[in-house]
């Protein structure tokens, strides 16, 4: 009897982990190895056993692939544009919302958060209408102001900005929530000490609050970069990567390569490029997770 109990108590923890571990092995660990194998072969879609080893050919091919570089450039542009504007705007808004005199800041934050919970598909479709040439809201406003109409989604330099605007619109409330949590967690003692030393509001923000928000900024930037580099839905819905590839981001290119051209091996190699770009950010993210874990 005693023996049985001992055995079962040694095995039961693993029983609780079995579903998770099986799923991780099948849908995470094996795919990692498989993806690596794919990237060094020429995968035969119809007869996988006839796939041939090609070494680093798939990676070498990237160097001369001007569309890949174009998509990387677009992704970087998108990431920088949406993150810089989004982070700064949300930071300023958070400082306003965290002022003691600001009544209803909770309600304001809750409302600003709504875009973040909506499906990006629905949001993208609505924004497509807003950006539309004939009846769209933006062109209506331009018309009212007597300015020329713009074909936002059909213009090679404007389309990416349309996508960036939607991304900012979506993430702003989330960023405000995170910034605010950071701002509100700053101990009043520091602000008190600053006031005693005669710091004015501007100095208080610049020298006391901003430095203390560094961990929050790190988190938002790391997460923002990881997510922005994987942007797909909004592009797929609003621009299909066009016009003339001007909004073709990395994942869109990868998806096209894998699921439309069935160039599986090359697409796998591209996904490792994505991994290489994101690895540093992912490691920082793991570190942040572990840091909180220690607390």
């Amino acid at each position: 009897m005693r023996r049985r109990r001992l055995v079962s108590s040694k095995v039961t923890p693993y029983f609780f982990l079995v579903p998770t571990l099986i799923l991780i092995i099948i849908f995470r660990l094996i795919p990692i190895g498989y993806s690596f194998w794919l990237s060094i072969t020429r995968f035969n879609v119809i007869m996988p056993q006839n796939s041939t080893f090609v070494g680093l050919d798939n990676f070498a091919r990237m160097i001369g692939d001007e569309f890949l570089w174009r998509s990387l450039l677009n992704t970087t542009y998108f990431t920088l544009g949406s993150l810089t504007i989004g982070l700064l705007l949300s930071l300023v808004m958070s400082f306003i919302l965290c002022e003691a005199w600001f009544k209803f800041s909770g309600v304001a934050r809750a409302l600003l958060f709504v875009p973040f919970i909506m499906s990006i598909v629905i949001a993208g479709l609505i924004w497509s209408f807003i950006f539309q040439i004939d009846f769209g809201l933006l062109n209506s406003i331009l018309r009212l102001l007597g300015l020329p109409q713009q074909r936002f989604l059909a213009d090679t330099s404007l389309a990416i900005w349309a996508v960036i605007i939607v991304a900012i619109w979506r993430d702003l409330g989330y960023m405000i929530t995170i910034w605010s949590a950071g701002i509100l967690s700053i101990s009043k003692d520091y602000l008190e000490a600053g006031r005693i030393d005669g710091a004015n509001r501007m100095q208080e923000i610049l020298y006391i609050r901003l430095p203390m928000l560094k961990p929050v900024a790190t988190f938002l930037i790391v997460l923002g970069v990881i997510n922005s580099f994987q942007v797909f839905d909004v592009v797929y819905v609003m621009t299909f990567g066009g016009p003339a590839r001007s909004t073709e981001v990395l994942i869109y290119y990868l998806w096209n390569m894998a699921f439309r051209d069935f160039n599986i091996s090359y697409a796998a190699a591209i996904s490792w490029l994505l991994f290489a770009i994101l690895i540093i950010f992912t490691l920082i993210q793991v570190k942040l997770f572990k840091a909180e874990d220690v607390n």
Binding site: P19, P31, F102, R109, V114, S119, Q230, F275
Partner: protein
């Protein structure tokens, strides 16, 4: 109490204006969606744009349900979101319990592996995951839609984090009384972890309900498309000609409603869950 000086008051008003403006921008698309869903096609396409329809008509809602398959799309979204969320939360809670409240060899290593592996961006393994699904014959099936996304680091982390704060005595006492782990899990652990479980349920549901990327890859046939994918396809089919926006808006309103209702009820869980992972004690 000091009286607020006039220039401070002026500054405050100036500071409130951008906040209000942003709230209007944040909510405008939704406002447009709901009002347009009650408009006639003509009303949606005239200039200057009409803000409210002359008469709120329900025709668009009736018509989209007459379009073949709309109720199918809705049920598909329900199947994907509800079953996926249930399994995902159940497995995460079990794993969270094991990692927080049980002792076993290799615990730290396993936890590290789980977290690290799951932090690898999904897109990196997207293609092999799709190929594995095709070995299983899961392409274009509900299994393929639901199962691969069930495991998630965030959930395990969230549950474990919360459970670490529960005193061990509670569990040790039950163990001494001879209760089996399964029973301890169900009748002691589950009732205490309801807050993070609720957070997880709403976030996982939202994620699946809104997801289009995985369905786009794994689902081919129209009758298994969830709403998000169906909407995209519908938009694309009309894109070249005249998009019937009022009907689209009605479909989108129905598609947006479940998450909005959840948000209205569980707003705190949405935000707190997302803040917890940010490494800030809010």
């Amino acid at each position: 109490m000091l009286k607020t000086p006039l220039h401070a008051k002026v500054l405050r008003v100036l500071a409130i204006i951008p906040v209000l403006l942003l709230i209007v921008i944040a909510l405008y698309p939704m406002f447009w969606m709901v009002t347009t869903s009650f408009k006639t096609l003509e009303e949606s396409l005239i200039w200057p744009p009409v803000i409210f329809p002359e008469r709120f008509i329900l025709d668009n809602y009736i018509q989209i349900f007459q379009i073949a398959n709309f109720h199918r799309y809705f049920s598909n979204s329900v199947i994907y979101a509800v079953i996926g969320t249930f399994l995902s939360v159940l497995f995460a809670t079990m794993a969270g319990y094991a990692f927080a409240k049980m002792q076993f060899a290799g615990k730290r290593l396993l936890f590290f592996v789980v977290l690290s592996v799951l932090m690898i961006p999904h897109q990196v393994t997207l293609i092999p995951i799709f190929l594995i699904n095709s070995w299983f014959g899961w392409v274009d099936t509900y299994l393929g839609l639901i199962i691969p996304g069930v495991v998630n680091a965030f959930g395990i982390f969230l549950i474990r984090q919360f459970a670490m704060g529960i005193p061990n005595d509670l569990f040790d006492a039950a163990r001494i009384d001879g209760a089996r782990e399964g029973r301890i899990f169900a009748s002691i652990f589950l009732p205490v972890v309801i807050p993070p479980v609720t957070t997880l349920v709403v976030l996982e549901f939202m994620h699946r309900w809104n997801d289009m990327f995985w369905p786009l890859i794994i689902i081919n046939s129209a009758e298994r498309r969830p709403l998000t994918l169906a909407l995209t396809v519908l938009y694309r089919s009309e894109w070249a000609g005249v998009v019937r926006w009022p009907q689209m808006a009605a479909a989108m309103t129905i598609a947006a409603l479940p998450v909005l209702i959840l948000y209205a009820i569980f707003q705190k869980y949405f935000t707190s869950g997302l803040v917890v992972t940010s490494g800030i004690k809010g």
